[in-house]
């Protein structure tokens, strides 16, 4: 997995809530048995007209957002299907991080990203960052005022600096486990296999439901 420590790059805005994984990578591209080649198909039905021409009104096609590496969007990004191809597409297009707002507070707080998508991101080194809706609004305003501006992300310090005018300096929360994995870039399976004795011990004591041999 690609480690994530810090990153500086152009911010792109996608002002749509509930972006589902069918939009991120359409089903016709899921037939591949490879892990690469998905970037060119990211947001296919939004990026291209039916006849294959570029849809110039779609945000990511604007010239200021070319080469962008940090995607800023609205809540519930990545909902729907579990297809990890969606993460591969976002990453292979060139994004290193995605920013989305959580909603509400405390027990009723709703995360900015769908569960499976966020989990898949953490297995691939794509950083998901959540801010409050107000903070995300402020990034939208900054970028809309000066499209093409960059942000600097420091995962160790959990900060995002938006290099607009005025500059924004924001702090984000992240699960310590996900942070550690992203910083190290270590192979998850390799790490778990260090626990192979514990797994074997568990299998010995786990009840007989485990047996799945047909009668």
């Amino acid at each position: 997995m690609q480690a994530f420590t810090h990153h500086r790059g152009v911010l792109a805005l996608l002002d749509t809530a509930n972006v589902d994984t069918d939009q991120i990578i359409a089903k016709q591209f899921l037939k591949s048995i490879k892990r690469t080649g998905f970037g060119e198909h990211l947001f296919h039905d939004w990026r291209y007209h039916a006849d294959g021409r570029l849809n110039e009104t779609f945000a990511l096609n604007s010239k200021e957002f070319q080469g962008a590496t940090v995607l800023v969007t609205r809540n519930n990004f990545g909902c729907g299907s579990s297809r990890e191809h969606a993460v591969w597409a976002v990453q292979q297009y060139g994004f290193r991080a995605v920013i989305a707002p959580f909603k509400g507070e405390g027990d009723s707080r709703i995360p900015g990203f769908a569960d499976i998508f966020r989990n898949n991101c953490s297995k691939n080194g794509l950083l998901t960052i959540e801010f409050s809706e107000k903070e995300v609004d402020s990034i939208f305003e900054s970028v809309s005022a000066r499209p093409g501006i960059e942000a600097s992300i420091d995962l160790e310090k959990q900060t995002v600096e938006v290099h607009g005018s005025p500059a924004l300096s924001l702090h984000f929360d992240i699960s310590p486990a996900v942070k550690a994995r992203l910083l190290s870039g270590l192979d998850d399976i390799g790490t778990t296999l260090q626990e192979v004795q514990a797994i074997s011990d568990f299998e010995k004591r786990h009840n007989d439901q485990l047996s799945a041999s047909p009668r």
Binding site: N18, Q23, K27, L30, K31, S32, A50, D115, Q209, R215
Partner: protein, 466 residues
């Protein structure tokens, strides 16, 4: 301390708590299919790793398979993906229910049929509708391909404990109101992110009264409300389902009695505390139809298409975009919206009870002129059962197309697709833009509502129709 059903399963599957605070969770059943597994097997090959428990790993092909001619798959890329699964299963010693198997079908339909889905187990699959298996009181959730590889190699997953969310459906739904309507109602209330980070437990009189098929429909769509898993406590309905039929992986005889005794300890203890709770009055739920481009954009069949600004939880811009895509005008009565295509099938509503419900409406009637009606059984077993009951004859006589089993037009990876602008009443689970074909317009409904729409040519209120 009293525990919830979820906590009992979670606690009994913890291999250990890792240093970073995550839990290494043991997986009892790993189901795989052709679309999300090839890269995982490739990862094993590249690192020289093996499948730790091939005896707990089960594969089928469903997403990408044609539902007409299965012998000659025309799309070479689809065929390559299907062949790759066969080769991977052969190489790694995994049991495969392929297109020649009498047990082939949608992965979430065949798991319960084969008796693989048992109360108190943990089940994962590289598919978000794995939540279906929660109907049996199994903790079942969808995973990505990296996690598929992780489970193949270690039979475990590293997990953070989710929150618990109790949803009670009190009272009894009226005639014509199904499990599909109840779950769509919930999604409409809390939105497509309302359950993110949670595991639902569905309970209450209306849930207890559901068949296993209905419970599977309900748990299936948990993910559409953002929850990775939904659970229903096992009871006599569950035990009855598991005790009957040809379920080679379910216990039998004394082993079954022992299992039932253990399963009876699973339901949430009185006084168990949930992180969140919601009560819905099932008796007030009307048949539901989605009008927009996610399952939370849903309304009563008796209503009118909403206007931007009048839908709680959605910005005016989101509603405008959805209505433009769907080709709908605010204020139009939903029952005036005409349909081009009907799709009855999927892991949500492709079981025998769903086909019986559709057949009961279609019997002795004809599909409206110009309407294409695709009926796709969820599995070969469902297909065989339906044919034994003569349902296929009813479908064909009324002008429907009776197909082979698979995911089909639910995600339209195979040739079953909508054309741009084509409007479909579908018993599937997602009405996202382009889900059933680029430019296609999907309305999610129950099998009864889909069948009635096929005859009328437009949506009808099943409660007053006929």
């Amino acid at each position: 301390m009293p525990k919830t059903l979820f906590e009992k399963i979670w606690d009994s599957h913890q291999v250990k708590t890792l240093k970073d605070g995550t839990v290494l969770l043991y997986i009892d059943r790993h189901l795989i299919h052709e679309v999300t597994s090839p890269q995982a097997f490739e990862g094993l090959r590249l690192t020289g790793r093996k499948v730790r428990r091939p005896d707990l790993t089960f594969a089928t092909m469903d997403h990408n398979v044609p539902t007409d001619d299965r012998e000659n798959i025309k799309d070479p890329i689809s065929k390559a993906q299907i062949d790759t699964l066969s080769e991977n299963c052969r190489q790694f010693g995994v049991k495969l229910y392929d297109l020649k198997s009498r047990d082939q079908g949608i992965v979430h339909i065949i798991g319960p049929e084969l008796g693989l889905t048992l109360p108190g187990t943990t089940i994962v699959c590289g598919d978000s509708h794995t939540s279906t298996h929660g109907a049996f009181g199994a903790l079942a959730f969808g995973i990505g391909t990296s996690e598929v590889e992780h489970v193949l190699a270690t039979q475990t997953l590293t997990q953070t404990k989710p929150k618990t969310f109790r949803v009670e459906f009190k009272g009894s739904p009226g005639p014509g109101v199904t499990a599909k309507d109840l779950i769509l109602k919930l999604i409409g209330i809390i939105g497509t992110a309302g359950g993110t980070g949670c595991v639902f437990e569905y309970c209450g009189e209306a849930v207890r009264a559901l068949s296993m098929e209905g419970r599977m429909t309900m748990c299936n769509m948990s993910i559409e409300a953002g929850a990775r898993a939904g659970l229903i406590a096992p009871d006599e309905v569950t035990f009855e389902y598991l005790s009957k039929g040809d379920r080679p992986f379910a216990p039998r005889g004394e082993a079954f009695d022992r299992a039932v005794a253990a399963w009876k300890t699973l339901p949430s203890d009185p006084g168990a505390v949930f992180d969140r709770e919601l009560v819905i009055d099932a008796s007030s739920v009307a048949p539901q139809v989605t009008w927009g481009t996610n399952p939370g954009m849903v309304m009563d069949v008796s209503g009118r298409i909403p206007a931007p600004g009048e839908v709680p939880g959605y910005s005016a811009k989101d509603v405008e975009q959805a209505l433009a895509y769907m080709g709908l005008k605010p204020g139009t009565p939903l029952t005036e919206v005409t349909i081009n295509t009907i799709f009855i099938g999927s892991c949500t509503n492709g079981r025998i009870e769903d086909l019986r419900a559709a057949a009961s409406i279609l019997k002795g009637r004809k599909v409206a002129p110009g309407i294409r009606t695709l009926i796709v059984p969820g599995s070969q077993r469902v297909r065989k059962q339906a044919e034994a009951e003569g349902l296929d004859i009813i479908f064909k006589d009324s002008g429907c197309d009776w197909r082979q089993s698979g995911c089909s037009m639910c995600l339209a990876m195979n040739p079953d697709q909508l054309s741009p602008g084509e409007r479909c009443a579908s018993t599937s689970n997602r009405n996202f833009e382009g889900r059933q074909g680029k430019g296609g317009r999907t309305h999610l409904v129950s099998p009864q509502m889909a069948a009635a729409a096929a005859i009328a040519g437009h949506f009808v209120d099943i409660r007053t129709w006929r």
